[in-house]
Subunit: 316 residues, 6 copies
């Protein structure tokens, strides 16, 4: 079966401090899974899409648990590699509505960062309805960057639309390095989904229209700017759309961007116009931030509909 | 001793997901008890009233635990029946401030739904200061409907004031069925406590004054319309009163209506005028929605007074 | 791919009281999944086998969670049916090393009990290396019994070896009914895995050799008698083997039999002789009883090997 | 209704560290209720007896919760006094199978220790089938000692059989003081239930027969010596009986003696002979030590029967 | 090393109900430490200051745990006394964003309340950069009052600036008694940090300027009035400053005042002007109220900076 | 003050799965600290000794928490280095009485493994009453090995007795490498504390007397062989002693060896003869294995005495 979407990257074990307690002082932790692309993959699978994810995990409890979680959600992980020479990355963090969130990363030398071009199944990607990735992967290692580029190249050659979210993490690389990595990669994007700050790292612009124009000139057909608690704005160079964020009580803001991507991409694959896709992105993100964990609050279709009906969100 | 209030219905075990986690993904559950009328009974007992509850539970851990809880709170359950041929109903749900709440009901064929006219102790009801019930009971089974009618009839004959809350649950019956069940039963009511949507299912009106007039024409002396986060409105056909809802951080909105009933009925039994009773209803409901669980946040008199003093609520 | 084993039956949500607290007084519950056949299916999947399971679950959080769990473990649930007209069964219980275990079943009218012959994918079964089922399914409903028989018949016709575990539960049917149900069904069995008490319900024998002889006469090639804390005994009519149980600290004995089946069947499919298969069954069961939950302690291959190496178990 | 048994004493809030963690380092606590006599009262109520308890609690959350718990279990607490001038006692401890148990008592100046003769309802006691108390109460204060004596005196005058358990706690008084307190009080006892060490504090004997003889000479008709993990021994001066302790995995030994008393007294009230009463005492105690908490493991009649059937205990 | 600040008082064990559940009904508790001055001491230690605390704790798990906690945070407790004749005080409470908080104190006769002048190390205090205490200590016992006075006197003689927070608790003394205790003690203060209501208990004024003037006349150089959710106001008699409170989601307001003191005092010791010190006080308090517990949310310097950067707070 | 003992090595954050659940499937984790030498350091500090520990931790929540824990226990960590260029190591594991324990190590490139000779405070070591280290440190890095050697050398020069525990972990190095590392280092030991298997890696002997003789020949004055659940054996070449292990219910065997070392070294420092020191080692280890976590069950002096009194252990 031709997957609606293929994505790839690093997936890690997540140990989440009891919500509201600072990491340094928390005693109890709940286990989950984290990774920008796997978050989006699970988000789309819950909304009923056939989704494939690939990447490398270690031959250890966190690696097996991550694959089991995704497989359980219906994500096709048959191309994932269990690398018995490296550990699965691990992320330990706290969760707060508003206090700064503290994160300990244990991902250096991880299996996930050793993704390589040989892991890219060209035929599978060419068969998909869309390809999605984030800039994080390229920053993990030269191999992983090359794998990202190969996947993007295969998709373009096969006419598979590509979406890219820069998803810049300062812990992984500095500004100039991010620019060097992401300028070529976003060049493959038919759709760019990005925060405004992240976009500025790449193109230097601070204005939404300027930054969108920069990506549109380089080949994107649509640019979506995620504006956090304000909402999301999009343009195709001709029209512009804006959607207010959902007004919900925030428990843990982490994962909102990946969730937005899932909602937006899902809506587009279902043929909805941009403003409705923005609204779906905002509703999916609004579900996620009400639940501690990167992906634990991702809604299924029925929950999405219930939330939509509760008029939390109005498209305009 | 003559009880201040007698009520009856189905009481179930409740297993409540850790607040904030969606039911489908929650791992940890806390146990409590649920049931519209037992919520109100406990609410009034905590406020110092002598209260009786009757109904059927199974001869199993959930049934015994429900009776133990009510007995512990001082509710007289001496007329409750332990039915060893049917299980106690069970309800598993999640709790969110704002996400739609997901509920799994295991109440078909339950002991509670087999309440019957023979379970109604006529002398006891005739001795009480008031009788309260909800429309849920009538929708459980023909036997339970007949028991509701018998109790209402006994009360009217004995001059015991009757209050009714339609409390329509779409999972139990459809609109026409609710109308058929509740038109006769609300006819017994001296006091109707209802949501606006529920009232419309019964009488088709969408305006507060129209809907109140409909109940007043059929014999009610007072109609209270619960308007959710806006507050509550009441009329006796002559005067009108309105009370804003308490402004509190919501943890779990379930049980707010039953709690309002407890506060309102308690105030009336203590001889307070309608506007003060509305205020008490709103304060009790405001306590309950701050705590996960249908009845876990019901305040005692001291807590009620403390909350009132904190000026969370102003009567007007 | 031809599955190593196909099995079917009812799978339910499980809410497990905090180990050591009696069900009637426990406040905290952990969620898992229960079902004799799904336990065995997951057990074999963890040991590296390709396994298929089918059955019906409701279109509700417990049903989706059960499928997600099995799918995550690598069990092929593509033939499972989501029945949106019935709820998924639910089981609430406590867990003790030695106190009697208390269980509340909410499975009457469940989706799982409405399994029917049309749910049996004949081609799939005919393609498998083995078929396994328990007597529980036949006791759920006439439809479910017919489905069991159809699956057994298809397997026999296709030359697929059949294993049957009577797994008699007194809550589901009385003795004569069990006899009526299981005499024909065990007639399909190439391999009978049973407790001694359960076997007596079927054939009236109390001696291990007599009871084994009864099954062998009716066509079984091998009979395994599970003797609880003593161990397990087997015969093919010619030879006899015995294996002591593992000496481990018990946390929750539930699921030991299903785990034994997984270990034994896995070993046989890997071509091991009967005594080694008995030893593997005993090791897998010994892992499960050290962990609260029906299946939470099922080991993977690596864990099985580690346990075996720790000389907890000696084959003789 | 004439109660089967009346008892009295101090009941305290209990905060129990997560089993297995030392008190000084534990982070999580579960709340329960503790008090030798209320343990026995709840034990007997769960076994189906009508039981009354009296004593003083503070007008605070721990006091109300203790009464609610007992009332919920069906214990008649209508004679208990809520003393709004003193706090309810509190006990914080850890629970281990075998490590020494660490306890922090907060009971000095507690409401419970201010029990006084005026709290003793003479008519109620005279109407009971039996009176039970422990030596702890007398050690709390002179008022409480006088109340114990008054209750004992009333019972003797009314021909109500009295049972006494010295239950010596070194934290409350020293050896000579215990002797002074308990010699007169045990003089009222028809039945003495005691540990051997405690008896020695009172009468100086170290041999079971000598110590029993001492109590029999002073008027007891039956003496039961609780021998911990060995079991229990009894004599009426003519015959002697012994019962081995149940062989169960211990989680928390606290409360075993109170539980034994409940089982023994219940059996005697049901007319069972001494050896069967010893056996019931041992089974009830065996249930309690498998569960963390003083009284959380007290079985109901059905659980008692199940345990008895499991042949954990053999009468001889 | 000369400590930046020395403080003293009573420190108690804290058992905190699971946030959101009323104390009377909560089952689970988390352990922490409470005490106005130790809260401030830990707050300052986390911000990098050398801090000393002295007082008395019992020779019991709560006393040792309190010292271990403070020592762990780097607070110098070498002058603290372990008093093996009295227990450490204990405090059991619930935590709510807005419901009234219920507290059970077990501090009568505690080790902490027996602080005495002999416990005051004069040389150590004379060597410090500042001394801080609250009015609570003086209300514990005459000995503790005398110790407070001695410490204040020593500091004044040595030219060590003194800050006092009245911190009136109605449970410890009535209004006239507070006035009698605090008028002399606040006379030692170079800096008064107080709530408006507390100040009124002392000087009868209800206006911020009047109340400040009263303290300034009696020798204070600076008066800070903590105005709860509105913010904080300060004057030195010449200038006035105001700082809005941080807008954060409140989980547990307890400890906000002690945290404010830590932030304010720390900023002053780092040489910051009053308005910036007010801002730091507000940020530290804003961190604490987002976390359940009196001191669990106290930020370290890095966290303080991150919060400040998030523009939660604007100095004006 | 001259410390009784100085030790050094790597200390890591520990996240421990809820006891009894396999790591791959556990959802809840509790946080503690792990590290062979810090375990022994805390063990001795709890028994009343002045102890110093040094090593490197990262400038992150796990590093600060580890130092805070040790400082809280009274261990002098003033020579520890906070290395802001590397993360603190992390260890995630499960805890079982008997199932194999699964561990995920995140320590490659950790701050702890970058310990170097410059971190060794020569004067401080020369001032101590004893120096203790394990072979783990030498296997972390060449720098760490050199630091170990330097510390050992300084101690020998200053006449400070040295104890060494090889503590071989197969995950860190292979057999030949361990031999190469440990032959020179154990050459500094006045006291060797080792398991039999570990000793064989170093000297090839399998017999207790042979292996002891090998160490004695190379300069050790006393050799203690830890024999797990059997107990411990020691010789000085002249006499031999044996001590049975404590018979306790095991919850988590990890940390037993480090705990034994603390008990043994403490007893020797208090001047006790070898057989009593063996008994103390066994009692301390017996306390630790009853509690989940590497060091959470380490007893203080009072607990040690209580355990000793309970006759769990008999010296012979």
């Amino acid at each position: 079966m031709s997957p609606d979407l293929i994505t790839f990257g690093e997936t890690m074990g997540l140990l989440l401090a009891q919500p509201g307690l600072p990491l340094e002082h928390a005693d109890g932790f709940r286990r989950s899974v984290a990774g920008a692309e796997s978050n989006t993959a699970v988000g789309m699978a819950r909304l009923g899409h056939s989704v494939g994810w690939f990447g490398r995990v270690g031959d250890d409890p966190f690696g097996h648990a991550a694959l089991r979680m995704m497989r359980g959600e219906g994500v096709d992980v048959s191309r994932a590699v269990v690398d018995d020479t490296r550990p699965t990355g691990l992320l330990v963090r706290d969760a707060h509505a508003q206090r700064p969130i503290e994160v300990c990363y244990y991902r250096s030398g991880s299996a996930g960062s050793s993704l390589r071009p040989a892991d890219v199944d060209e035929q599978w990607i060419a068969s998909a309805r869309s390809l999605h990735f984030t800039g994080i992967t390229a920053a993990l290692s030269e191999d992983a960057r090359a794998a990202s580029e190969k996947a993007a190249h295969v998709a373009r050659e096969a006419g598979v639309p590509v979406s890219v979210d820069p998803n810049i993490r300062r812990k992984l690389a500095d500004g100039p390095r991010w620019r060097e990595l992401l300028r070529p990669l976003t060049g493959y994007a038919d759709l760019v989904l990005t925060g405004l700050d992240e976009a500025r790292e790449i193109n230097g612009h601070t204005d939404v229209r300027d930054t969108a124009a920069w990506f549109l000139e380089r080949g994107a057909g649509l640019v979506v700017l995620k504006l956090g608690s304000e909402g999301a704005w999009a343009t195709d160079g001709t029209e512009e759309w804006f959607q207010r964020a959902a007004e919900v009580p925030i428990v843990d803001p982490v994962g909102a961007g990946d969730a937005f991507n899932a909602g937006f991409l899902s809506a587009r694959l279902r043929g909805l116009p941009v403003p409705e896709a923005l609204a779906e992105g905002v509703v999916v993100a609004g579900n996620v931030v009400q639940v501690a964990g990167d992906m634990d609050g991702l809604p299924n279709s029925r929950m999405l509909e219930l939330t939509r009906d509760s008029e939390q969100v109005t498209t305009r």
